[in-house]
Symmetry: C2
Subunit: 125 residues, 2 copies
Amino acid sequence: MKVIKDENLPDKEACAGSLKNVIDALYVLNGKWKLALILSLVQSSKRFNEIQQELTGISAKVLAKELKDLELNDFIKRNVYPTTPVSIIYEATGYSRTLKNVLGELSAWGEQHREKVKQSMRKQS
Amino acid sequence: MKVIKDENLPDKEACAGSLKNVIDALYVLNGKWKLALILSLVQSSKRFNEIQQELTGISAKVLAKELKDLELNDFIKRNVYPTTPVSIIYEATGYSRTLKNVLGELSAWGEQHREKVKQSMRKQS
DNA sequence: GTGAGTACTTACCCAAAGGTAACCGCTTAC
DNA sequence: GTAAGCGGTTACCTTTGGGTAAGTACTCAC
């Protein structure tokens, strides 16, 4: 049973905890592309070249590496369909969808941030 | 087939937009330490050595670089107090606090993720 | 058989991130 | 004087990220 010993020391443990949580999260979600890639596949399953078109700037090599990495960590699934020629469709797993709130907040913040950057650009010029 | 009913489910345009937002957000929040550092200073203002103790593993060099970077981007403020010896206190700005929801979600996810990793470790052994 | 498309892999290279360790200038304590 | 603490800087090095370009294996259309 947890006992609150001191009301004047409210969240110290929680603070250290959330710091650790964030560091752990960042450990698996590191890099320039991982979160964007997950978001893209959460929105809809796609094939290799479709992803590469959507994430403009990513090279085939890096995309292949990131896809492998995310598959290993159970964020995405690689489906091979025996059509001719074979279709390889990447889809987000349920685990990717647990990031929905994170991605939502990040997107909202990114949008607002872009506005702020625009404004400071205007001030500069 | 299970249909996820969600009012926030974005349409195609919004998908591309949110992808761009996330990429923009990650552009300023890149690296291993930036979000953790912001969180640490949002929780309370600190001096250099205090931060280094809390973010175990970060080197003085990297910390100095990240602090400069975050100050340039208006996430933190460097206050010099003319005590003897001078105290240099870093504090989060209001702009850092706009990341509150992002950090909250990331922390929640990181906690849940750690649980999941623990479970798959048990399965392995 | 030639070319195009899909889904990569491989080799090569550069730049940036990040770690280690030493050092700096300042001040207080012993 | 010497050591220790603060808030860094500097030099040096390794690791990682990530880009380019070429090649591979397969199939289909011509």
